[in-house]
């Protein structure tokens, strides 16, 4: 059955008890993102402290993949420098958009590698990226630009 490849146990665990769920104060920036194809929404808040991601909190109205992804994002970037977190974001995005051809690096992505199976389902890639695009957008709102990434297009929110 292919279903287990996509819904790996790690993903289901994060979905059942998501980290960072529930909006918290104080925060430096908030981003609201929607997936126009299905109407899923995320509101994500970021608090930065001396160049590090101090806290992420989010409210996600979406499928298991988008919820689990926001949870994994929280685990992966909190405590890292903004620049490092953008490198993780880029790696996650490359994997998610890689159609299953990109071998993910577990050292960088941790639990995020569980989303490699999602990359085989193009319709679900946006679900996996929704929280990450909100994070990127929130960071831009705080710092004015995104350190460590080229260009500014957030592929998670283009309409199809």
């Amino acid at each position: 059955m292919q279903l287990e490849q996509m819904y790996q146990e790690i993903i289901l665990d994060h979905y059942r008890s998501p980290h960072g769920a529930g909006l918290r104060d104080p925060f430096d920036a908030e981003s609201f993102q929607i997936n126009p194809t299905c109407g899923d929404e995320i509101t994500l808040r970021v608090r930065l402290d001396e160049g590090k991601v101090a806290e992420i909190s989010h409210e996600t109205l979406g499928c298991s993949i988008s919820q689990a992804s926001a949870s994994v994002l929280t685990d992966l970037v909190v405590g890292r420098s903004v620049e490092e977190s953008m490198r993780v974001l880029t790696a996650f995005q490359e994997m998610a958009q890689g159609r299953g051809q990109v071998e993910p690096d577990e050292d960088v992505l941790g639990d995020g590698v569980a989303f490699a199976g999602v990359a085989r389902y193009p319709a679900r890639v946006k679900c996996a990226l929704l929280g990450w695009m909100a994070f990127k957008d929130a960071v831009v709102r705080v710092s004015g630009d995104v350190p460590g990434t080229a260009g500014g297009t957030s592929d998670g929110k283009d309409a199809t």
Partner: protein, 428 residues
């Protein structure tokens, strides 16, 4: 034409024979699973007869229609106009009142843009002009295709958009009627692409007409599935798409009452739609040519002609009865599954063959993924009816929709898959 759910009509449809006409239905998906295609509301599959008609046209008669005096040009024009005539007969209309468009979306936009062009198109077009103080009425259940063009028309002209609301059981709330003397257009779906609800067209036409407003019917989900006569319904305009009625994509139809089309200014301009062109200015051909600028889609129109021949041979009463039986089976079976809630009417009264539902504790995307893994193709999301989903307090629904080729066993596969999704996500 009588539309009754008689068993005789239902048994008139030999599903096995029908299925044999659709090559795609015998393919497998996701590692060898039989395809269970329950997404015809998004786009339907095409029978061999349609594919053959397109191929035969392209292999034997292809040329630019309405241009050139050679034999192929004549044959191509005949094929194109013959398709128009047969499609017109299928929807109870005169061929001169049928404009070929790319799809229903373009048909509705054609009317909306013609109305904004009316402001500068002289006295004949005055009846189409809109401005501040005028109102356009739609409903809360519209597909974006019959909502956004009217929002845009309001923005361009200063008119105001108003809408009918939807009641909790998924019917149009006729008491929320915003139609007044200010109303200039009333645009509404014949059948909701989410709820399956069939709207009370006669009543809406009566109310619109009482204040002199034009009616625009979105017939995307009705023409493919039941007998429809635009002249019988007495609407002013109507639009539908070929790809939802066993025909090709890239072709749709705008119907307009002939006196209205005759007075309406063009939307797209250029070749084929002119009467006389000088450097200083041009005059335009009578309808329908006035609204078909450029070389049109031709093999697609021919294919759509073949699709209505195919549907007519089965009989639209039989199609309607077949779909009603499948819809009833789905509604009954889903009602037996705890935690499943149908969004829309739960009986077959004024209801067509799309069934949208939510599963408590499992997001529609996740239900759809489990179904897909079992070969069952449905649509998940807001189905281009976002305000309607908001009205029901849900971000997304699962939608199954049927057509002539679906079987009771496929409905059972859907329901089994829904139970499997509940099990997989631990909510049952």
């Amino acid at each position: 034409m009588t539309a009754v759910d008689t068993p005789a009509a239902a048994s008139a449809l030999d599903v096995a024979a029908v299925r044999a006409d659709f090559p795609i239905l015998s393919r497998t998906v996701r590692d060898g699973k039989a395809l269970v295609y329950l997404d015809s509301g998004a786009t339907s599959q095409r029978p061999r007869q349609v594919l053959d008609a397109e191929r035969e046209f392209l292999e034997q008669h292809n040329a630019a229609v309405h241009r050139g005096a050679h034999q192929l040009a004549e044959e191509a024009t005949d094929a194109y106009e013959s398709a128009r005539a047969r499609i017109a007969a299928f929807v109870g209309a005169d061929p001169a009142s049928l404009v070929f468009t790319k799809n229903a979306t373009e048909g509705i936009n054609l009317v909306a843009y013609a109305m904004s062009n009316a402001a500068t198109a002289g006295p004949d077009a005055a009846r189409f002009t809109l401005g501040p103080g005028d109102e356009i009425v739609v409903t809360e259940l519209e597909h974006h295709a019959n909502l956004v063009p009217w929002q845009e028309l309001c923005r361009r002209t200063g008119a105001t958009l108003r809408w009918f609301e939807v009641s909790p059981d998924g019917r149009l709330d006729l008491d929320s009627d915003p139609i007044t003397e200010r109303t200039k257009v009333v645009a509404f779906a014949h059948q909701s692409n989410v709820l399956g609800t069939v709207l009370p067209v006669a009543e809406l036409v009566r109310r619109a007409r009482a204040v002199g407003a034009l009616t625009v019917l979105d017939a995307c989900q009705s023409v493919p599935n039941r007998p429809v006569s635009f002249t019988g319904l007495d609407v002013d305009f109507a639009a539908f798409s070929g790809h939802k009625m066993l025909g090709p994509s890239g072709v749709g139809v705008l119907y307009g009452r002939q006196d209205l089309l005759a007075a309406m200014p063009p939307f797209l301009t250029g070749g084929s739609m002119i009467e006389m062109v000088r450097m200083e200015g041009s005059t335009y051909a009578p309808p329908p040519q006035r609204f078909e600028a450029g070389v049109p889609m031709t093999s697609q129109a021919v294919g759509l002609g073949a699709a209505v021949d195919y549907l007519s041979a089965i009989g639209m009463d039989a199609v309607e009865a077949h779909e009603a039986a499948l819809t009833g089976r789905a509604l009954d079976a889903l009602a037996e599954v705890p935690g499943v809630r149908v969004v829309g009417p739960t009986d077959l009264v004024d209801r067509g063959g799309v069934v949208a539902f939510v599963v408590d504790g499992v997001h529609a995307h996740d239900v759809g993924q489990v179904l897909d893994d079992r070969g069952v193709a449905v649509r998940v999301g807001h189905h281009c009816a976002w305000p309607l989903h908001r009205r029901f307090g849900v971000a997304a629904t699962v939608r199954a929709s049927v057509h002539v080729y679906n079987t009771p066993a496929e409905i059972d596969a859907l329901v089994d898959g829904v139970r499997a999704a509940q099990k997989f996500f631990g909510v049952a």
